[in-house]
C-alpha cells in the first residue's frame, strides 16, 4: 500500500466516524454546510449580475 493509499484509508475512516454522530449533531453540520453553500451562491450571483450602467456626465466627459 502506498502512502497516498494509506492517507485515503485514514481519511475514509475519519469521514465514516461522522456517521456515528447523533442526528441533531449531523443536522447542525448540515445547517453549516447550507450556510456556506448559500454564501457561495450569493457570491456567484453577484459576479454574474451585470454592472450598473455608468452615468454619462452632462459635458460628455
Amino acid at each position: 500500500m502506498t502512502e497516498v493509499e494509506r492517507l485515503f484509508e485514514r481519511q475514509a475512516r475519519w469521514q465514516r466516524q461522522r456517521q456515528a454522530l447523533s442526528w441533531p449533531e449531523k443536522i447542525r453540520l448540515a445547517e453549516r454546510m447550507r450556510a456556506t453553500a448559500e454564501a457561495f451562491r450569493r457570491q456567484r450571483l453577484q459576479r454574474l449580475a451585470p454592472a450598473p450602467p455608468e452615468r454619462s456626465r452632462p459635458n460628455g466627459n
Binding site: Q15, R18, P24, K26, I27, L29, A30, E31, A37
Partner: protein
C-alpha cells in the same frame, strides 16, 4: 429542526394534517454521514387530498403562526420546509410506517431507511441513487429489503436497473 418538529406536531394536533413524516436528505442523515441540503422535505397526509389547493390549509396554519412562505418553501427556524402531499401508495405507507424519533426532547416522525431508499429509487435522479447507495453503505437497509419493498410497490424494474448499474460491478 426542533422548531420544525414542534410546528409539525401542532399541525397534526390541530387536524390540519392527518399525519406527516420527514423524508429526503434530512431523514437520510439519521443513518449516514451529514449531507449538504437546502431544504427539509415533509410528506403530509391531508384530510382532503382531492382538493386542488391541497396545501392551502397548511400554508394558512403556518402564516397564522408567523411563518410566511418564500417561493416553494416555508422558512421555519433555520430550515426552509417543503411540504409534499403523499402522492402514491408507497409514500402513504411510508408516512404510516414512519418512526417517532426524539429530537432534543421533541418527538418528530421520520420515514424509515427502507422507505427512504425505495422512494429515492422511484424518483430516480442522480442524487436519489446516491441516497440509496449511502443508506446501503451505512448498513441501515439491506439490498434484499429494498428489492422486496420495491417489488411490492411496482418498482421492481427500477431496482433491477439500479442493481445492474451500481451493484453488479462492485469490486
Amino acid at each position: 429542526m426542533k422548531e420544525v418538529a414542534a410546528l409539525l406536531n401542532a399541525m397534526c394536533d390541530a387536524g390540519v394534517v392527518r399525519d406527516y413524516a420527514l423524508f429526503g436528505a434530512v431523514a437520510q442523515m439519521r443513518y449516514t454521514e451529514p449531507v449538504a441540503t437546502l431544504d427539509a422535505d415533509v410528506l403530509v397526509a391531508v384530510p382532503e387530498p382531492e382538493r386542488i389547493d391541497v396545501l392551502n390549509t397548511i400554508y394558512e396554519f403556518c402564516r397564522e403562526r408567523g411563518y410566511a412562505p418564500e417561493g416553494e418553501a416555508i422558512p421555519v427556524g433555520a430550515w426552509p420546509v417543503q411540504f409534499v402531499p403523499v402522492f402514491s401508495e408507497l409514500t402513504r405507507d411510508a408516512v404510516a410506517a414512519a418512526e417517532i424519533v426524539d429530537f432534543e426532547g421533541v418527538p418528530i416522525r421520520v420515514v424509515s431507511a427502507s422507505y427512504l431508499a425505495v422512494i429515492a429509487l422511484g424518483v430516480g435522479r442522480a442524487k436519489d441513487f446516491t441516497r440509496v447507495l449511502a443508506l446501503m453503505e451505512s448498513g441501515a437497509v439491506a439490498p434484499e429489503a429494498i428489492a422486496a419493498l420495491a417489488a411490492r410497490h411496482g418498482l421492481g424494474d427500477n431496482w433491477q436497473r439500479f442493481a445492474r448499474r451500481f451493484l453488479d460491478d462492485r469490486g
